[in-house]
């Protein structure tokens, strides 16, 4: 018996998301009185693998094989299936990001394991295995019961947090048998911005809507974000208009994020927008319309002209950072 976590790495490094997954798995492993095993695929240095022990991993299985550098969903599903069998895993945990969403359903079929995606917290009970997740684009919560011996969950990023649980970690090389599968996705080109804080990783997000009037007014948003160490985001019409890149669009049809602080500037707070941000721990809204629905979701609000409020916001942050 064990709890198996699959975590991706980013150019050989783990990040907060990996540590959150391991912390979460460790807590479930405690409920089950068993161990946490982590599977890592790709070139990751020993020291980096060792870090997973800080969050409770007792074994790390590392597939350091050049064949698997690029994500091919079939190849990866084969590897994770074999790891699950070797670790005798009865719970498998992945991130609820693009990679987890691509792999978990395939694994569910391969392992005949019930799947709960985008879970928010620890299982409410182990027998029967009951766990909560958001449904109807965050407008409701469902208590899902998984009825199979092996269970798979994908965890919504930033919903559990990082918890240190130093374990004596053993690192093993894992050599899956890939004779029965070949990669069919051929990657022609990778286009990636590096060095920019990713929206999904950010603890603070500064976001602008149509109330910002035009792309020329984003200087203030960028400045505030830089001061706060935040990522920038926007509402859908803003990205549809081409004022901002599509990757910044948050909401039901864009990215679903749950930062600690979400600052919404000139965003009305349409239900589809809130679907992507309502998991934020604190929402600040600036909008000139006192009846804008964003104020129903917000913790702090200013009814006022964002063009006037934003420069003052920036000045006040500078002042407090200096004090």
């Amino acid at each position: 018996m064990s709890v198996l976590v699959y975590t991706e790495n980013w150019d050989g490094k783990f990040k907060k998301l990996s540590f959150e997954l391991v912390s979460y798995a460790h807590e479930i492993a405690k409920m089950l009185n068993t161990q946490t095993v982590v599977l890592s695929i790709g070139n990751v240095a020993h020291d980096e693998l060792q870090k997973l022990g800080t969050y409770g991993a007792s074994t790390v299985m590392s597939v350091d094989n050049d064949c698997c550098k690029n994500l091919d969903n079939q190849v990866y599903s084969h590897i994770i299936t074999q790891a699950a069998s070797k670790a005798d895993a009865n719970i498998i945990i992945l991130a609820h990001n693009n990679i987890g969403k691509a792999l978990a359903p395939r694994l569910s079929v391969r392992l005949k394991a019930g799947l709960a995606t985008g879970v928010l917290s620890l299982p409410q009970s182990i027998e029967p295995f009951t766990i909560t997740r958001k449904v109807f684009t965050s407008k409701a919560i469902a208590n899902i019961i998984i009825n199979t011996p092996v269970k798979i969950v994908t965890l919504l990023q930033n919903s559990f947090g990082i918890h240190e649980n130093q374990a004596a970690v053993q690192i093993e090389t894992f050599n899956p048998d890939l004779s029965a599968v070949t990669a069919k996705t051929v990657i022609k080109e990778v286009n990636k911005v590096t060095g920019k804080l990713l929206l999904t990783d950010a603890e603070i997000v500064v976001s602008g809507g149509r109330g910002m009037k035009g792309p020329e007014n984003w200087g203030g948003i960028e400045e505030l974000a830089a001061l706060l160490g935040a990522a920038t985001a926007c509402s859908r019409p803003v990205s549809d208009e081409g004022w901002r890149p599509h990757s910044e669009h948050t909401g039901q049809t864009g990215k679903i994020i749950a930062p600690d602080l979400y600052i919404a500037l000139g965003i009305s707070g349409a239900i589809q927008h809130l679907g992507g941000v309502s998991g934020s721990k604190c929402i600040v809204a600036v909008n000139k319309d006192p009846d804008a629905p964003i104020f129903e979701a917000a913790d702090y609000g200013i009814v006022g002209d964002v063009m006037k409020v934003l420069p003052e916001f920036i000045a006040a942050v500078k002042e407090i950072k200096q004090s």
Binding site: R106, A140, E189, I204, S278, F295, Y300, I320
Partner: protein, 248 residues
């Protein structure tokens, strides 16, 4: 090429969500139903490619649902799909949906099967990947671009901080997200008239298992009222965020 788009029939995105029977059943009364937004975008892109003579022979849409899903299915025909199939079942979980779709697809295969990244009712983000595994086909997820030219398929998928351009041979399952098309096609009068005469085949479901069930639903806890700050005192907001919320 024969292309299939799996469409789920979901409540309009502005629907007020309510439950009945002790919070175990979604209350469908008064709900407006739509084609799941990503499925609609996938359909739009495929029809654009068909119009551009990209070598698409037929575009089929398939839904697992009861007869009450037919207006939504007809809308897909009105937008321009050639043919529709409804598998007559009220599914319990994504695995059951995927199994029913897979059984129908095995009997009458397609070159490309497209699904949306998630349906905005149960938000499972599961059916596409499950379907690919059941069909033993490759899958590409988070597709934000699809082109077909000279029999070749080019895709882009979203990765952290960017995109990957991918080539893949058919058959495969594509799981589509935003970006694949800008706005969904709106059916015109001619499309609506034609939809009435297009085939909508109803299949009886095969025997399919479920792996999960929903115990009950809850509504999110009401949020505490928003603390309003005087627009002439923005400093106070920053002070609260620093000292009270301790977030900056």
């Amino acid at each position: 090429m024969k292309i299939l788009i799996c469409i789920s029939n979901v409540p309009d995105t502005t629907t007020k969500i309510k439950f009945v029977n002790n919070n175990t059943t979604f209350d469908k009364s008064g709900v407006q139903w739509i084609i799941n937004p990503w499925d609609e975008l996938a359909l739009t892109r495929v029809l654009d490619l068909k119009d551009a003579q990209a070598g698409i022979e037929s575009v089929t849409v398939m839904n697992v649902g009861l007869a009450d899903a037919e207006p939504t299915i007809r809308k897909a025909l009105a937008i321009g799909a050639d043919k529709a199939i409804r598998i007559n079942a009220d599914p319990v979980d994504s695995f059951q949906v995927a199994s029913l779709l897979a059984d129908a697809i095995k009997k009458d295969p397609y070159d490309i099967v497209l699904c949306g990244i998630e349906s905005c009712d149960y938000n499972g983000a599961s059916v596409g990947g499950m379907l690919a595994e059941l069909l033993d086909m490759p899958s590409v997820s988070a597709i934000s671009f699809l082109n077909i030219a000279g029999g070749k398929v080019e895709l882009k998928r979203e990765i952290d901080g960017g995109q990957e351009s991918i080539e893949i041979a058919t058959p495969f399952v594509g799981i589509v997200q935003k970006g694949i098309a800008k706005d969904p096609r709106i059916p015109n009068m001619r499309g609506i008239m034609m939809a009435k005469t297009k085939p909508l085949q109803v299949l009886e479901p095969s025997a399919a298992n479920t792996l999960t069930s929903v115990g009950s639903f809850d509504l999110p806890k009401a949020k505490a009222a928003c603390k309003k700050i005087d627009p002439d005192n923005v400093k106070e907001l920053v002070r609260l965020l620093h000292y009270e919320a301790k977030l900056i």
